[in-house]
């Protein structure tokens, strides 16, 4: 898989910091699972966290000490066998594993809800403000033009689309902010399926968009 569009540095920093919503973190983790280049960048942003952690307390300060009670409790537990969670062998799938944990390993088995003819969605179970869903859009269809209050992250799982910023195919991630207004058009011969997350509601730029936003949220 040749990936042309990657995660923004600002997004990777926030992912490492634990500062992304669940939905956005899922898009990031799913892209990381298939992108060695972003994995390396993520190791670096994680290292920021490691250095900050290491610098967090002053070893000479008495206040920062932890008493031996916790250590003794832990030492007593080290020989306990943790509950065995044997991970089932993972099936061959075109869904990145972090996402498959939520929607299963097979895109064909996802249950879709229709928004308008040719446009379907599947909601993910994160209720913290932004949007988090799979979208399935038929060839030749376009998504309503919209801009964002905050960030919008889209990972393409199958098919492709083009918008003002270029062409996005499977594996690519579109990492956009409120400076961008775009109208993606599906240009693949199969349905385009992508994982979308925002950290704030979207802002539609047409009267029709504003009308259907309460239903679609996208």
């Amino acid at each position: 898989m040749k990936i042309n569009h990657h995660l923004d540095d600002a997004t990777l920093v926030s992912y490492s910091a634990g500062a992304l919503s669940q939905g956005m973190a899922l898009v990031v983790a799913s892209h990381l699972a298939i992108c060695p280049e972003c994995q390396r960048r993520n190791e670096q942003t994680d290292a920021i966290g490691g250095a900050l952690l290491d610098d967090l307390v002053d070893d000479s300060a008495v206040d920062d000490k932890i008493d031996d009670g916790m250590l003794n409790d832990l030492l007593a537990k080290l020989d306990e066998e943790p509950e065995v969670t044997t991970a089932a062998p993972w099936p061959k799938t075109d869904i990145p594993r972090p996402l498959a944990e939520y929607v299963g390993a097979n895109l064909e088995r996802v249950e879709w809800k229709r928004i308008v003819p040719g446009v379907y969605f599947h909601e993910l179970p994160f209720g913290n403000g932004g949007v988090s869903r799979l979208l399935r859009i038929a060839p030749g269809k376009t998504i309503l033009p919209h801009s964002h209050e905050g960030n919008e992250l889209t990972l393409i799982l199958r098919g492709s689309f083009s918008d003002e910023l270029g062409r996005f195919a499977a594996g690519d991630v579109a990492d956009l902010d409120d400076q961008v207004e775009h109208q993606p058009l599906v240009d693949s011969s199969e349905d385009c399926i992508c994982l979308v997350a925002t950290d704030a509601p979207l802002r539609f730029t047409t009267w029709f968009g504003r009308l259907v936003q309460p239903i679609t949220g996208f």
Partner: protein
Amino acid sequence: MKNSPPGDDVENLASLKPPRASEDWTEMLALMAETRDKSLYVDLFRHFAPRVKAYVLRLGVVPSAAEEVTQEIMLAVWRKAHLFNAAKAAASTWIFTLARNQSIDWMRSQKYPQYEFDDQKPETSEAASVPSAGEAEVLSDRMAAAIKTLPENQAQVIFMSFFEGRSHGEIANRLDIPLGSVKSRLRLASEKLRTLWGDAV
């Protein structure tokens, strides 16, 4: 009878001397993973547990739960040590990710989405540039030094992200600056840290 790993003298372990000032924590963690030597665990605990607890509190775990969350994280350090890869991360970085994930699990009651290194064995051609165990510790020190050189406004957005868990939008509101400015400060900081950090890689 189960075999007792070296250093399996539980009663005396807690009273052992604190570790020397400058340790290679990364090497120590890798060695602990291999040997299951509990005296190494004690040294790692003394160094990292106070840091983990301070972090957990800053990120927003309530004080009444901080001890418990810290204890879970420090237990994971022992139980998940076989997953630690010294060529990929310094001990502080690996423990940081455990602490972050566990804190978020606790605060959100949902697992923070993450990928695993060996998820799909990406065709890495960069094997040659992966730092070895000793280097990870050096790089970690270098990162700490690099962070101290960031301009105030970049350090601020880094701290608000890592220590307060604030999103771009929350930082923008708090500092009363546009979202785009938050992102560009984070990008500049990240770029600068990468340059300073990565020079030796």
